[in-house]
């Protein structure tokens, strides 16, 4: 009987057990034969001898049988493992089918959690983890400077500085110098399209450790004056425009109406090591030494450098060398009075910038949501384990080992994890697409984000891990199954056991609430920041009634400034004639595109103070201020009479007026501008008006600016702003048509409404806010479900108690109070823990917060109250059920 049960339960036999069994079996045979022979008349001794002789080789048989049985056993064990798994999966599957609501809730919760995490991770992997596509990218440093006076663009350095660093530094083995980041117009027989273009020193790719996949790199011959124009085109551009044709080499193409020969094709996945300018269509050589020798241009801060740390040189040696280098540059070019502090920043950090913070924050939010979901699911499993205690008890009584029971429980939870994870991956693919679209302007464009094998592997691993984790608590409960309790006359749960379990669930709920508070605080701080940003007074009207686009007048046709001025005037007049257009203005580089440059201004009548602070130098057409909606404070703006040949005029912004002429009216004063002004810096210009200050975008502070008349310093096109009474975006087709009539080679570049431009400037904050709010709401809902679940369970567990209380006269209100009080303690503990966590962690948000403190009381109090309220509502439903307990029913249930 025992053996039969052993076999029924498929318990394995040990080797010694096998040997003993065989001995017994063979002995039985021998004794039976001996007994038979004895009955035939042999004496006992002879019978035994004869039986043994008849048997044959006993030892060999024993050995043979043992060997056979061991193999049988081994095979049985393997089979059993699979059979057990199949049984467990079957049980788990039936359990899922039996409680579909439970399964759906668990799977949906988990799938959302895994989906969010996988999607965010795929982006994190692309932007933060995948190394930059350069040789030894961790030895590359982006060079920054600290310009004197005003906080200008610290991104760019002068040619002399860069050349000095490249040739004299011992720590750096080379500097990849680039500049002229911007657009060019590619034209062929059929099309005209904007290309992203930049100029680079001939050794730029060598320093980065990149080789063209096709053709050749730039060489010093390409920057010899008079050398034919050559270009390297991007891999994607090669594919898109030339269909990947290898015969593209030495082919002549037109960029900005100039002939270029394609010297080579950049490798696939190449990105420019430039924050905010990663995608490139074409590179052209930049004559850095030539520029450094040209007195007029050498000191203009127009170039960018990425330096490579020499092999074997550490950061310490680098930091030690920088002051010496700076001193040498300063000695050689005393006129560079910039303090000249060169700051190397790890290239990866420079490119990723604060979007890294956003991504880590979003990743954190997604992980917390997954954590809350897991805690929630663990709670659900724990509650259900209570229901299946009897079943587990029965199986334990039948001889199932603890290991077997634990495996059963874990199989069920892991199955949920796997199915949920698979659904999560499907969700991730959709979410990733949405995330990439949402994050387009907030993240560096380092290549396509993919949900690929490593991402999937991680998602699968996390799914299984979480799946097993859900089951740990119920599995522990399973090992504590008490046979007497489950099978004995009590037949149900002991009161004390139930309480322990509820306490465990309440800890889980408190944890969920704490996590939800953390996310709510984060979302709150970001939302308040965003609200402030949106309300920011830019100093101009950035709405959907203003359209911004770029014009590029280059090539032989536009060599003459008079022609360019005439074309710009003509284009302006034609646009102004379109229905609904109220003003058309233009500037060289719009403030939201980074502005033109920083210069130093000197008032003619005052003695030179040598260290004039930097102000922004901009150009403006006569209607520029009207088109943007920049208010006039004093004097006048430019008119059609501020044209080439008339006395040079200047309009300044309020803060310039305040700084140089505090309490006075600067209109009529003459000033001279130093540095980098095209033409000569000696010209004195008369201030004719004062206008309001403008911010370049919603995040940055207003920039003190002086404007010269675009017509007096004619550029090669620029940034046009059209203001209209209706939706300005609708004007784009008409303007495109009109430009085609003026010159088919001048396309409409980057048309966007100013509202879109401004939204792009706060895309990072918006991305962080939208995602954090989403995660926080998800966590809030999950926490509410958790509270509801655990309180509902606790209420059922206390039915008897409530029944008795009602029987002896407790009012419904007092019962509700009883339940709610229990819930409040759980909630309060969670909120307190959450506030503490959020207060400790909010400093990591500081780089994203604008005008909001990391300990903003309104946000912290608001988040706490929101959770307390939700928790209260979630506990009221079970409380209401508690008041409906009938005393008689309550006594009957046990």
């Amino acid at each position: 009987m025992a053996g039969r049960i052993r076999r029924l339960l498929r318990l394995p036999r040990s080797a010694s057990r096998i040997r003993a069994d065989i001995d017994e079996e063979l002995r039985f045979d021998l004794e039976m034969r001996a007994a038979d022979l004895a009955r035939q008349g042999f004496d006992a001794h002879t019978a035994r001898e004869r039986a043994l002789a008849e048997f044959g080789d006993l030892d060999a048989t024993q050995r043979y049988c043992e060997q056979q049985d061991n193999e049988t056993e081994r095979a049985a064990r393997v089979t059993q493992l699979f059979e057990d798994l199949a049984t467990d999966l079957g049980v788990a599957w039936r359990a899922m089918r039996r409680s579909p609501v439970f399964a759906v809730v668990v799977l949906a919760t988990f799938a959302l959690g895994i989906g969010a995490d996988t999607a965010v991770f795929s982006v994190v992997r692309r932007v933060l983890i995948t190394p930059l596509p350069f040789r030894a990218p961790d030895r590359l440093y982006r060079l920054y400077t600290t310009p004197a006076g005003a906080d200008g663009d610290d991104n760019k350095l002068s040619a002399v500085e860069l050349v000095a660093i490249a040739t004299e530094s011992r720590a750096f083995s080379g500097v990849a110098i680039s500049g002229n980041y911007g657009g060019a117009v590619y034209t062929d027989a059929q099309t005209a399209e904007p290309w992203r273009m930049a100029s680079v020193a001939p050794d730029f790719l060598t320093v980065l450790g990149v080789r063209p996949v096709l053709g050749r790199d730039f060489s010093d011959r390409d920057i010899v004056p008079g050398a034919p124009r050559v270009t390297l085109i991007g891999f994607d551009t090669w594919q898109r425009v030339f269909g990947g044709d290898p015969r593209v080499l030495e082919r002549r193409i037109q960029l900005n109406s100039l002939d270029y020969t394609i010297a080579g094709v950049l490798p696939a996945g190449f990105v420019m090591p430039e924050p905010g300018f990663n995608v490139i269509d074409a590179l052209q050589p930049l004559n850095v030494p030539g520029i450094a020798r040209t007195a007029r241009m050498s000191r203009g801060r127009a170039y960018r450098g990425v330096a490579r740390l020499r092999e074997g040189v550490g950061e310490t040696a680098l930091r030690a060398e920088l002051p010496l280098l700076r001193q040498r540059i300063h000695d050689r070019y005393p006129e560079i009075k910039n303090g000249g502090v060169i700051r190397p920043v790890s290239l990866h950090a420079a490119i990723v910038g604060t979007s890294g913070t956003v991504l880590l924050l979003v990743m954190f939010g997604a992980v917390v949501v997954l954590l809350v979901a897991c805690v929630n699911i663990a709670g659900l499993f724990l509650a259900r384990a209570a229901a299946s205690r009897r079943e587990l008890g029965v199986r334990a009584a039948l001889g199932a080992s603890r290991e077997r029971l634990v495996r059963q429980v874990l199989t069920e939870s892991a199955l949920h994890g796997l199915i949920g994870g698979a659904a999560g991956i499907a969700i991730a693919v959709v979410l990733k697409r949405a995330l990439v679209a949402l994050a387009a302007s907030a993240l560096p464009q380092l290549g396509e984000v993919r949900v690929d094998a490593p991402v999937l592997a991680l998602a699968a691993a996390v799914s299984i891990l979480c799946g097993v984790a859900f089951g740990v608590a119920p599995a522990i409960a399973a090992t504590r199954v008490d046979l007497r309790e489950t099978l004995g006359d009590a037949g149900g749960r002991g009161a004390s056991q139930g309480r322990v379990r509820v306490r465990g669930s309440r800890v889980l709920v408190s944890a969920q609430i704490a996590f939800a508070v953390v996310l709510l605080v984060g979302a709150g701080l970001l939302t308040r920041t965003f609200a402030f940003l949106v309300q920011t007074n830019l100093g101009y009207t950035a709405d959907a009634h203003a359209l911004s686009f770029n014009l590029n007048l280059s090539g032989n046709r536009y060599r003459d400034p008079t022609t360019r001025d005439a074309v710009m005037q003509s284009i302006g007049d034609r646009i102004r004639a379109l229905p609904g257009v109220t003003a058309v203005g233009y500037t060289r580089v719009a403030p939201w595109n980074g502005g033109l440059m920083g210069v130093r201004m000197r008032v003619v009548s005052r003695p030179s103070d040598g260290d004039a602070p930097s102000v922004e130098y901009a150009t403006a057409s006569d209607e520029y201020f009207a088109a943007l909606g920049i208010p006039l404070r004093a004097g006048r703006v430019f008119t059609r009479d501020d044209r080439p040949g008339s006395p040079p005029t200047l309009v300044i912004s309020e803060s310039v007026a305040r700084r140089y002429w505090p309490g006075m009216n600067p209109v009529g004063t003459s000033v001279r501008i130093e540095d980098a002004v095209p033409g000569d810096s000696g010209t004195s210009m008369q201030i004719v008006g004062v206008v309001g200050d403008v911010r370049p975008n919603l995040v940055d502070e207003p920039v003190p600016t002086l404007y010269v008349s675009e017509r007096q310093w004619v550029g090669y096109g620029g940034n046009v702003i059209v203001r209209a009474t209706g939706d300005a975006a609708k004007l784009a087709p008409a303007i495109r048509q009109l430009l085609r009539e003026v010159d088919p080679l001048v396309p409409l570049l980057f048309p966007r409404t100013l509202r879109d431009v401004m939204h792009a400037s706060i895309a990072r904050q918006q991305l962080a806010m939208v995602l954090m709010t989403g995660f926080a709401l998800l966590a809030l809902v999950l926490a509410a479900l958790g509270i509801y679940g655990v309180m509902a369970y606790a209420t059922v567990a206390r039915r008897r108690e409530f029944g008795i209380r009602i029987a002896v006269g407790a009012t419904p209100a007092s019962i509700v109070l009883l339940v709610v009080r229990q819930a409040s303690l759980t909630t309060l503990a969670g909120v307190a823990a959450g506030v503490a966590l959020a207060a400790a962690g909010s400093k990591y948000l500081s780089s994203l917060l604008v005008r909001v403190s990391t300990h903003d009381p309104l946000t912290f109090v608001g988040a706490s109250l929101a959770l307390a309220f939700v928790a209260l509502v979630a506990s009221l439903l079970p409380a209401r059920d508690a008041t409906r307990v009938q005393p008689v029913d309550a006594l009957r249930t046990e």
Partner: protein
Amino acid sequence: MPSSTLELMPGTVDVLVLRTLAWGPMHGYAISQLVRNRTAGAIAIQSAALYQALHRLERKKLVRGWWGVSDTNRRSKFYELTATGRKQLRSQSTDLRAYVAALLAVLDAE
């Protein structure tokens, strides 16, 4: 009727054991008794060969063994045919019959 006990030809033990078990579950000694009685002692399976066959057949999952209690009230190991074993018996006895028939055809030929 042969005059003395016949030596079993190799390979025939397995099929004999399976055939015997087809009557019903029994322990090893009962199998050898049954074979001896059925053939009036003409065929006797040596016990060593019998038990080796039983354990081999158990490994091949053609028979299933379990511990039970014999008529004499002693703990002993019983064997029964599995479904696979039954199928195997059918095909092997067909083969064996054909073999014997062929053998006879040669031996009986004039």
